[in-house]
Symmetry: C2
Subunit: 232 residues, 2 copies
DNA sequence: TGTACATCAGTGAACGCGCGTTCACTGATGTAC
DNA sequence: TGTACATCAGTGAACGCGCGTTCACTGATGTAC
C-alpha cells in the first residue's frame, strides 16, 4: 500500500468502509473486465486499506463479487424504471426503458456482461414462468412469489413484461402474448447489447433505430413516439 | 501427475502432442467455462505430461488459448458451411446454417461464449464493412482483403451475408440490404444463443420456431422449407 | 550385423509471484466514574 | 474536569497454494560407419 495512511472511520461508521469496498470492487470489475481480476487484495489496494480489513465486513472474497452482481441487476432495473417521465404513454415508457437498457449495457459493458456470466446465478435461476396461453391478455403480472435465490434477474425482466402488457391495455400494442413477446424483445436487445460490446467497431444500426424496429416487430407496438433526444 | 507414465511419441511425431495440448485446452475450457481456469498446468495434467513439456510446442500459455479461440471460430464457420445438402435452395441453406449456429452455441456453450469474450479479439476486430446503400443489391460479397489480425470472426459472419444475398438472388428474400439484414439476423441469433446459455431454465421459444420467425422478420425470407428433423 | 553416438521428446526440481485467509496486535475513539 | 479503561476499526506478518516459466537433465529412438 502506498500513499498516506488512511483516515480511520469513527465508531459506528464501520459500514462506510463496507460501501467503499463494494464500490471499489465494482470499479475494478468495470476497469479490468474480468471477474477473476477483482481479487481481494486488488480491492484492498483500490480502497487504500490492508487486505485483512475486508474481513470485518465480508466473510470472503466471493461474497463481495456476489453482492456486486446483485447490485448491478438492481441498478439496471432502477435505470429502466427511472427512464420515463410519469405522464408518458405506455409505448413511450417501453421505448424509454428499452433505450435505458441499451445505454446501461453500452456505458458499463463489463458490468452488463457480468450479469449474464455468473455460473451460480445461471444454475440457480429458476423458471420465470411458463408461456401464457394467448387466449386473453391476463398475464400474471401482479406480485409473484419471490424465490429466495437471486430474484434480481427476474424482477428486471418483469419490468419489460409489465410495460408491454400496459401497451396492450392502452391499445398501443397488438401483442397476443405479452410475456412471449417481451422474451423476444429481450432477445433482440440482449443480442444488440452483447454484439456492440464484443465488436465495438462492427457496423450495427443505431440504437434508437434498432430499438424502434424491435418494438414494432417483436413487441407489436403500433404507435411509437418520435425520439426527442439524441442517441448513439 | 498420476497413472502410468505416458508413452513418448516417436521421432518426427512431436506434433501429435501439440494437437493433444490444443484438444485438452479446448476440453478444459468447455468443462470449466472459464478461460482463467485453463492454466498451463491444468492442460498438462489433462494431457498427462509434465508442465514444461508444453514449451516444446507453444511459446507460452496465452498462445494456446489464442489458438483455441481461432479454432473455435473456424469450427463454427465449418459447421455453418457443412449444414446443408448441396442441392438445397438458398433459403434452405440459410435455415440450415442458422440452426447449425444455434446448435453450436447450445452444445458448446462455453466455447461459444469465449468467441465473444476475448478482449484482444474485441479490440483488434476491424470494421467489417460499412452499411451498403440499399439502392441495389450489390453488396461486396466477393473475396475481401483479409486483414492479418484475426479474420476468423469476419469470415464466419460473411457466411450469413452470402447466404442471405443468395436468397435475394433466388427471389426467396425481399431484403433490400442483405448486409444490414444479416446483421439484424445475427443480433437475433446471438441474443437467443446467449440468453439460452445464461438462463437454461428460462422459457425461450424453441430454436426452430425462433429461427423461422427471425428469418422471416429480419431476413425478409418469403419461402421457408418445413423442418424435416427435430430440434430443441 | 554390431556399436558408438547424435538427436530429440519429454522430465523433475526449483524460482518468484500474487493469491485468500489466519492470527495476534495496535492505537485512536468513546465511556464510566 | 480528569483519568483509567473498554471498545472497535484497522494493521503487519505469516501461512500454504497454484501459478507461469527456467534450467539442467535423461533416456529412448534413430543413424553413421
Amino acid at each position: 500500500m502506498t500513499g498516506p495512511p488512511r483516515q480511520r472511520n469513527r465508531r459506528g461508521e464501520g459500514s462506510k468502509l463496507r460501501a467503499e469496498i463494494l464500490d471499489a470492487a465494482a470499479d475494478l470489475l468495470e476497469e479490468t473486465g474480468s471477474e477473476q481480476e477483482v481479487t481481494l487484495r486488488a480491492i484492498a489496494r483500490h480502497v487504500g486499506i490492508a487486505a485483512p480489513s475486508i474481513y470485518e465486513h465480508f466473510p470472503n472474497r466471493d461474497a463481495i463479487v456476489q453482492e456486486v452482481v446483485d447490485r448491478a441487476f438492481i441498478d439496471l432495473r432502477l435505470a429502466l424504471q427511472g427512464a420515463w417521465r410519469p405522464e408518458t404513454t405506455p409505448a413511450g415508457k417501453l421505448q424509454a426503458a428499452g433505450l435505458a437498457y441499451l445505454t446501461y449495457a453500452q456505458e458499463q459493458p463489463n458490468r452488463y456482461r457480468l450479469l449474464f456470466a455468473r455460473r451460480d446465478l445461471i444454475d440457480s435461476e429458476p423458471t420465470i414462468g411458463p408461456h401464457q396461453p394467448a387466449a386473453d391478455n391476463s398475464v400474471p403480472l401482479g406480485p409473484r412469489p419471490l424465490l429466495p435465490a437471486r430474484p434480481a434477474p427476474r424482477e428486471t425482466f418483469l419490468v419489460l413484461v409489465n410495460l408491454l402488457a400496459a401497451c396492450v391495455d392502452a391499445g398501443q400494442s397488438t401483442s397476443a402474448d405479452p410475456f412471449g413477446d417481451a422474451v423476444t424483445l429481450w432477445i433482440a436487445m440482449h443480442g444488440y447489447a452483447m454484439l456492440r460490446i464484443s465488436f465495438p467497431q462492427f457496423p450495427l444500426p443505431k440504437s434508437d433505430e434498432f430499438l424502434d424496429r424491435a418494438l414494432r416487430e417483436q413487441g407489436h407496438l403500433t404507435e411509437l413516439p418520435a425520439w426527442t433526444w439524441p442517441t448513439a
